[in-house]
């Protein structure tokens, strides 16, 4: 099956936004044995959009569109498909009812222009959008498929998983492809690749490394005629990799670092409190993202001002002597977090995202400490990167320090 992605919106051609949807979708397609040959970005122009859709439909079995489903006159994806197939857009009563309900639930009257979001053409089924106003379209025409989804990434991803994937799985037959991703923290990509070098060139299963936001991902992918064989192939290599990499592996597939830590804390009936200076709330926010967060995360104290840290229990003399960005203060912060929030575990991170975050300290320095029932461990790192990346790194490596302390 040959696929093609069209990302629709003039803001893409003006460089106002980067097309992250296409890359995300491109990563999903190999699991269905679908080959992606083209990605295009096209503006909100009815004629050019129709022409691009016509070419895509002539050379691809599956055309995946994102964007252009909003209520405004610039949103022309439906119109272009209607033009291309010569099928008029008609308001669908159920969709209209749902749309009016959506607005009514917010106590707002629906602007009449939104009504076009309740239209379908004859060849289209609606794809439910539980997180926005625009339903998608699933269009079947002469054995080929056009899927239209919103351009807002989280709406697109939800619709893809819940609506497009089941329909697509039905259509792609034969050849079972199975993947497993192992997630690693504590080594860089080249070091991990060297550790598993003998498997990198194998054919089935294949093994690939990716440097990601939350560490290094090792992706095992096997193809077979049936699911059981594919599963065995993946499992055999997974066992070998786990033996070799041990606790460098913190999770697999959909598991997140914060979720894994949440489970460890919850299993041991431990509550966690954090204090962060320089990362500004990013650590607390990530812990709050864990689904079991209410069961282990007590709260966070966020400030990079000495008087606030002192108010929360850090000895001002330590700050005076070593400055905030130091091993001594970050260790005191971990203990203060534990005591002030009344928890068994305390985690603290101090990071300098900019050269002016802490006077006289270089950008990129990161200190982190864990206090687990009074036993304190700390670590230090230094990275050259932009401010938001430094905050993220402080958070990720701080959490990994906590994970390693909990392993013992």
């Amino acid at each position: 099956m040959k696929a093609e992605i069209l990302s629709i919106g003039t803001e893409l051609l003006l460089g106002q936004i980067t097309d992250t949807n296409a890359a995300w979708l491109a990563q999903q397609l190999p699991d269905f044995g679908v080959d992606l040959y083209y990605i295009s970005q096209v503006g909100d122009n009815r004629q050019r959009l129709t022409e691009t859709l016509r070419r895509a439909l002539s050379r691809s079995d599956l055309v995946i569109c994102t964007g252009g489903l909003g209520p405004t006159e610039d949103d022309l994806t439906r119109e272009a498909i209607s033009d291309l197939l010569g099928e008029p857009m008609e308001v669908h009563p159920d969709l209209e009812k749902a749309l009016r309900g959506y607005f009514g639930g917010r106590g707002i009257e629906m602007p009449e222009r939104n009504l076009k979001q309740a239209t379908l053409i004859q060849s289209a089924q609606a794809l439910d959008n539980p997180v926005g106003t625009a339903p998608g379209w699933w269009v079947e025409n002469q054995g080929r498929v056009i899927v239209c989804m919103p351009g807002v990434p989280h709406e697109m991803k939800t619709m893809w998983q819940n609506q497009a994937v089941p329909r697509l799985s039905e259509r792609t037959s034969g050849g079972f492809i199975l993947s497993r991703t192992l997630k690693i923290l504590g080594k860089g990509e080249s070091a991990v690749e060297e550790m598993v070098e003998d498997y990198i060139h194998s054919n089935n299963p294949t093994l690939a490394t990716y440097a990601k936001n939350d560490g290094i991902h090792l992706r095992i992918t096997a193809k077979a005629d049936d699911e059981a064989t594919a599963r065995d192939l993946v499992f055999e290599l997974e066992i070998k990799l786990r033996e070799r990499l041990g606790t460098l592996i913190y999770g697999q597939d959909d598991e997140t670092l914060e979720g894994v830590i949440g489970t460890m804390l919850q299993d041991n009936s431990l509550f966690l409190g954090v204090m962060e200076a320089g990362t500004g709330g990013v650590l607390s926010a990530l812990l709050n993202d864990a689904p079991q967060s209410p069961a282990f995360f007590r709260g966070g104290l966020v400030s990079q001002q000495p008087e606030m840290l002192a108010a929360w229990g850090v000895d001002p003399a330590l700050i005076e002597e070593h400055s905030i960005l130091s091993k001594e203060v970050v260790e005191a912060m971990a203990t203060a977090a534990r005591q002030s929030l009344g928890t068994e575990a305390g985690l603290a991170v101090c990071a300098a995202p900019r050269a002016d975050t802490f006077k006289g300290k270089p950008a990129g320095q990161i200190f982190m400490a864990v206090d687990l029932r009074g036993t304190v461990k700390s670590a230090e790192l230094s990275y050259r990167s932009n401010p938001s990346e430094i905050k993220r790194l402080g958070t990720i490596f701080g959490l990994n320090l906590l994970r390693r302390a909990l392993l013992k």
Copy 2:
């Protein structure tokens, strides 16, 4: 002049990398009065690449290619252009000398496969690459231009600035394009579009609306023969829009909501403390992103557990009576934030990203409150969306409530 961008590389079609080059280039083109109509990503396949180049050259005056200039068999941009124009690739002695010099200078013998990086076709000039091995190509054919640059972003950007821009400036005469973006919070996209409907269809300047992460963006774009005229055209419409939209507009162009609020607080010598329940640190993290953050942001208290809110000064009886997710408690939180952090302004947000965040409360409910030197204002909203979006909305609308309080 009509332009088109081709990003070349199979890694783009596998989703292994996101195409940031295209968005960067797209942002550069309006300055030359060049209209960008298409962006495409295509893999390392000689036939598909040649076909895509042929179509691009048939409909665009300027085709900008990135990627596929490396030394390996997968790097096929030169070959495809050679095929398309029927001009053989020939090693150019000066380029060969420079290339061998590049390797020699590093004490490495040049792999023979790199020799193709020293080739040209008859219609091509070489574009110098001071930061890598692959020179670019500037190809002129029947009045149209193909520019080929490396895919590595910093090599591409250097080559664009130093080599492509001077050649392009020579070819594009006159035509100055200027844009201004007004950023709006407090109305949805359709409502804003209805408020400015009479300008949406104007030709020069054009006006377009975009729904963004931080509100609705209104983009004014004018074309003229000279900068002063373009500036006047933009300014004239901007004045009318500002009259009509008033304080719904919070900023323009590169200004951020947190930056605008930071400036308002700093100008009035006010410090801000926040308390957040349910948003988990996202509000603090956004305020910390403001460049002037140390000058106005004292810190954040993050928890959704009643005992912690009580420890930070919220009356436990209020929580007992109304639950955390209520007007009464969020107002008490704003005051407690102000008092506990010792600031003039306190901002509190309570949000339920999930149905289980606060027992018996629906997902999507958001309360926010501001205490400005003892005067308390609050607001309530409800959204249907995913957890991270609800946290973000609580943060953005909480900050907008603070902005409106500071305006008075």
